[in-house]
Symmetry: C2
C-alpha cells in the first residue's frame, strides 16, 4: 500500500494524470504501479500503463494519502533512478538550493534550454513529489545528479568554464559564450547566495535595478540558461 | 480583530517580519496596524511601526489566524491601494494569470527590470497575501493595475509597441528594442497561453528545445523583461 513520501524512500510519486503519462512515456522501466481514482474517467493513464505492462490500481484511498487536496485523479509510483551528467553538455549547478518548487522549475528550464543539472548537498530533494510536479515532467527527461560538495563536482567536471553568479560579479550581459566550450552556470542558496570563495572563478552578475535585493533563484537561473542556449545557437 | 483574507476585503496582509518592514518603509500611509508574536524578539517591526505612528498589537492569535504554519512572527495589515501605470514606462501585461505565486514572482522581476505590471481579469488576486509574499515586497514598490479586458488596457496604452509572446511567433532573440520606444510585453494564461487573436500584433517566441511544451510563466516573463532592460541600457 502507498504511504506519504519520505526523503529516504526508494520510490517517489508523480502526482496528477498529465505528469503520470509523462513518467510512463519517459521512464516506463522505473514505474512500479499507477493509482487511479474511481471518480475519474481519464483513459490516458490506464492505457499508457497497460501498454507497458504496468499494474493499474483503482484506489481513492491511495490518492487521498498522497495528494490530500482532492484535485488529483492519477498517481504514478516510480523507483528513484540515476541519470549521470555528461561532460559534453552544459550544466547548471545549484549550491544548497532549499526550495523544492525552485528546484523543479529549474529542471523545467534546464530541459527547455538543453542543460543538465548538478545539485550540491545539503539541498532540496530532487525526487520530492513537489519538485517532480514543479518540473512538469522534466525530472524524467533531463540528467541530474547530487554531489556531496562542489569539490566533488569539480573533480569530475573541472575541465570547463565555471561561471558563478554573484552580486559583485562583472556584467553577465556582456559575457561571451563560445559555441565550442562547455559551461557550468553556478548559483547559490535562495537566501544566502554563493560564499565569497566562488569569486576565485570569473563571477558574473545579472543586471537589475536597485528596487530589489536579488532575483528569485529560478528566475535568475532561467535567464542565464536562456542566454547561454541562445548564444550557442546564433 | 483580524480574519482570514478574502478577495473582496478592503485590507490585506504582509506575512512575515521582513515583508512587514518593507511594507512600512514603502507604503506607511497604507498600514493600519502590525501584529507581532509575543514569542518573537524581533525589534525591527515595532520600531519601524512606531516611527510612523502605526499601532503595534501583540497577538499570537492574530498570527495563527493569518499564517497557520507557525513560522511567522509579524504581520502588517494594510489598506489596498491603487498605483496607476505610467505611459512613460515599459509594461508587462499578464492576460488571465491564474497562479498567485507566479503573479508575485513576476512583480519581483518587474521591479528588478524597471517595468510596470498590467493584469487582465479574470486573474489571480494581486493583493492576495500569497502574491504579496512571492513578490518579496515588490507589490509595494512597483505600479500595477487590473483591467477588465485587453481592449480597456489598449484604450489607454495603445500608443506603444505591443509584443505578444506566442508559440508560433518569430524569434524573440533577434527582436530589436529601441531605447526611445515604450514596450508592452504580453503573456497569456499558464495553461492556455494567448488566444490566436493576439497574432494580429507582431508576436515573438522564446527559443526552447522540444523537450518541454512551454516555459513556466514567471520564467518566460523574467527572460523577456531582462532582455528588454539589458537592451535599453546597452
Amino acid at each position: 500500500m502507498v504511504k506519504k513520501y519520505k526523503k529516504d524512500d526508494a520510490t517517489s510519486y508523480a502526482l496528477g494524470a498529465t505528469l503520470t503519462v509523462e513518467l510512463i512515456k519517459r521512464r516506463p522501466e522505473s514505474v512500479r504501479a499507477v493509482y487511479v481514482s474511481p471518480r475519474s474517467d481519464i483513459a490516458a493513464v490506464p492505457e499508457a500503463a497497460r501498454a507497458h505492462g504496468i499494474p493499474v490500481i483503482e484506489s481513492e484511498k491511495a490518492i487521498n494519502v498522497l495528494s490530500p487536496k482532492g484535485n488529483c485523479f492519477a498517481i504514478g509510483e516510480f523507483e528513484k533512478f540515476t541519470s549521470p551528467l555528461s561532460a559534453e553538455r552544459d550544466h547548471i549547478v545549484l549550491v544548497n538550493p532549499s526550495d523544492s518548487g525552485n528546484l523543479g522549475t529549474i529542471m523545467r528550464a534546464a530541459a527547455a534550454f538543453d542543460a543538465e543539472l548538478a545539485v550540491i548537498r545539503p539541498c532540496a530533494d530532487p525526487f520530492d513529489p513537489k519538485t517532480v510536479r514543479a518540473s512538469m515532467g522534466a525530472a524524467f527527461c533531463i540528467n541530474f545528479e547530487c554531489f556531496d560538495s562542489f569539490e566533488q563536482y569539480i573533480s569530475r567536471f573541472g575541465d570547463r568554464a565555471i561561471v558563478p553568479f554573484m552580486l559583485n560579479g562583472r556584467p553577465f550581459e556582456s559575457a561571451e559564450f563560445d559555441e565550442g566550450k562547455r559551461y557550468s552556470l553556478v548559483f547559490g542558496n535562495e537566501a544566502t547566495g554563493l560564499p565569497e570563495s566562488y569569486a576565485a572563478y570569473d563571477a558574473v552578475r545579472i543586471a537589475q535595478s536597485d528596487k530589489v535585493d536579488s532575483l528569485n533563484l529560478s528566475v535568475a537561473a532561467a535567464i542565464a540558461l536562456h542566454r547561454l542556449y541562445a548564444a550557442k545557437r546564433r
